[in-house]
Symmetry: C2
Subunit: 379 residues, 2 copies
Amino acid sequence: MFERAEFVDRIAGVQSRMAERGFDALLLTQDADIRYLTGFLTRFWESPTRVWFLVVPAQGLPIAVIPSIGAALMAGTVVEDIRTWSAPDYQDDGVSLLIDTLQEVAGRGKIGTPHGIESHLRMPLADWMRLNARLTLVSDEAIMRGARMIKTPAEVEAIRDACQIAGRAFDRVPEIARKGDALSDVFRRFQMLCLEEGADWVPYLAGGAGPDGYEDVISPATDVPLEQGDVLMLDTGVIRNGYFSDFDRNFSVGPPSADVARAYETLLKATQAGEAALKPGNTASDVFHAMDSVCTGGAGGQSAGRLGHGLGLQLTEGLSFIAQDHEVLKPGMVITLEPGVSVSGGAGLMVHEDDYVITQTGWERLSPKPPEHLIRIEA
Amino acid sequence: MFERAEFVDRIAGVQSRMAERGFDALLLTQDADIRYLTGFLTRFWESPTRVWFLVVPAQGLPIAVIPSIGAALMAGTVVEDIRTWSAPDYQDDGVSLLIDTLQEVAGRGKIGTPHGIESHLRMPLADWMRLNARLTLVSDEAIMRGARMIKTPAEVEAIRDACQIAGRAFDRVPEIARKGDALSDVFRRFQMLCLEEGADWVPYLAGGAGPDGYEDVISPATDVPLEQGDVLMLDTGVIRNGYFSDFDRNFSVGPPSADVARAYETLLKATQAGEAALKPGNTASDVFHAMDSVCTGGAGGQSAGRLGHGLGLQLTEGLSFIAQDHEVLKPGMVITLEPGVSVSGGAGLMVHEDDYVITQTGWERLSPKPPEHLIRIEA
C-alpha cells in the first residue's frame, strides 16, 4: 500500500519540525504515532501487556525499542535499528534499554513526547517515573499532531478506500435490517457487510433507533426490535490498510414521521453550510459556526460537544469543529462534518456525518454523496 | 447480563482492598477498570479525544467525571453521581472538575491510580501534570489488578459465552478457507463467522500460514494465497457482553508434513503438562516450567516471551506464565495456556492456545476441547 519513500518523507517532515524547535529526540509510545512513521501495523495493540517504544533522532531513521515478539514484523518496515527484550519482564520491562537508547541519541539534549489532547502515555506510570528519574522529557510541542494533521496523497487514498467500503455496506443495509429485527443483530450483520465489502476489520460501530431519533450516539446495541416508524442510525469506523472511515447513515423503518423527515433535512442543510465554509484559510471555528447556525440557530453546540473532527490513523484525531478551535484549514486535512439536531422538542437526537479532504480551493467528499431523503427499510 | 448487585459487590471488593491499604480514593481512567466497577460499556473508547474519569471513594458508589456525550449511557449504570462537561474543552478538559471531585472525596488523603504493568494513564500528560500540581497521586498498589484477577461466577460465564462463540466459528473454518484463498480474505470471512455465531464485535484477529508454521503471531494478513501443505493459524479475541475469548486453532491445507504433525503433538502435550500444573496453590511459574519442559526441554521460553496469561475484560490481563511470575493460582482466575514450538529446526513457529478457569481442585476448560490432530481444510 505504502512505499518506503512515503515513510522516509514522513520522518523527514517530523525531523524538520524537530529542528525548528530544537529537539534532539522524540519518544513515541502509541500505535498511531509509531505506525505513522514506520508502517508497523498490527492488531496486537489490543493486548495492554507489551509496551512499544519508537525513538526518533534529529537525523536518520527511527530506532525501535520493542518486545522480541514484534521483531519480525518491525523488520519489514523502514526501521533498521531494532532493539528487543523478552517481554513482559517484571524487573525491567524495556526501561533500561530505552534509557540507553535515548541517551545515545540525545545525550543531554531536548527529548519530547506527546503531551496534548488525544495523546496518552502508553506505558505504566511506574516505568514513566523510572525514566524521568534519569532523563528529562518535555512536551513534543504538538509536533506529531501537526505532522499527522496534513495527510499525504497516499493517506488520502487510503481513507477514501475505507470510506468507499463503508459506503457500499451502508447501501446494503436494507438487505439486513427489517421491522422486528433486534438492533444487536442488525449491528452484527452490518459489521459482516463491512467485512464482505473489503474492510480489514471493524473497530467502531455505534448507533441507535427510536421513533424520535436516538438517545445518544455512543451506546452499544440492545436486543430491542426495530419498530415501524423508527429511525435507525449506524455510525461506523472501518479499517482498510490501517486507515479509518468515520461516517454514519440514517434509515427509516417505513415512512418517517414529519418531525424526523424535517430533522434530516436540517442535518443536510447544516452539512451544506459546513461544506461552504470548508476551505483553506477558514478556521475550524468558522466551520463550527456555519453549521451551528443551522443546527441550533447559533446557540452553540449540544451534548456531543462538537460538530465534526479530523480523521485518519485514528477514528478521531486533530482538529475539532468547536467554537474554541482556531486551527486554520489547509489542503490535505481530512475531516468529518457531523451536525446533530434534537428531534420532536428534545425527545431524541439525530446526527449525520460525512468525510472530506480539504483541497486547494475547497473540499472533496471521500464518503459517497448522502441520500436526499432518509433511506427506507422494510416495515 | 449483569445485575446491579454484581457491581455493588465488585465496588465493595475494591473498597475493602482500599481500606486495608489506607486509600481515601482511587482515580481510574481506562476502559477496563471503569467498566469493571460500573458496567459502562461502549466502543467509543476507540476515539482518543475524550477522557473519562471514575473516582472511587472509600465508601459509597463511584463518581463519574465524564464528557456530556456519555451521560445518558452512564445513567444506566450503577453510578448515580455523574458530573459532566462539554468535551473537548481546550481550556480545561475536565481537569478542574476532577480536582474538585477528588478533593471533595479524599480531602488531603491518599489517592491512588494504577501504576503497574498493563496499566496506562489514559489522559494527556499535560493534564496529568496540572492534576499533580494540585494533588498527590500514588500507585494504587495493584488494587485494581488484584481485584480483577479473581473473576466472579457471572464473569466466568461471560468469558465462557465468548469462548463458545469463537469455538463455533473455528469449527466452520473449513467452510471459508481453501487452497488458493488469500489469507486476507480468510481473515475477513473468519471475522464474519465470529459475528454470525454471536460475537458482538471482533477486536482481535492475528495468525499466519506457511509450510513450517508461521514467522510470528502478531502480523496482519497478507494477500498471499494458501498453498497445499501450509499450516494456517487463526488466533482471535471476540467480545460478547464486554468479555473476551482468546484462543487459536491450527489447520492444515491437505495432509500436514511430518514436522508439522509432530509440532502439533508437542503443543498438545505441553498443554496437558500445563493443565496438570493448573491448580490452586501452584504458581504461574510452576505452570510455565511444566509447559516449557515439553516445549524446549527446559531451555526457558522463546520470542513470544510467555506461555499464556490472564484473560477477561481485556484480551490479556493479570498474570503471565513466565519463570518470573510467582502469583499463586486461586479459584476464579481465568487464564490461557499458550505453548509455542519451533518447527523444522527453526524455519517457523507453531502456537496453540486454550482458555481455562481455575477451580477449587484444578481447572475447567472454557474453550472447546482442542482436536487431537490438526484440522484439515481442502487442498
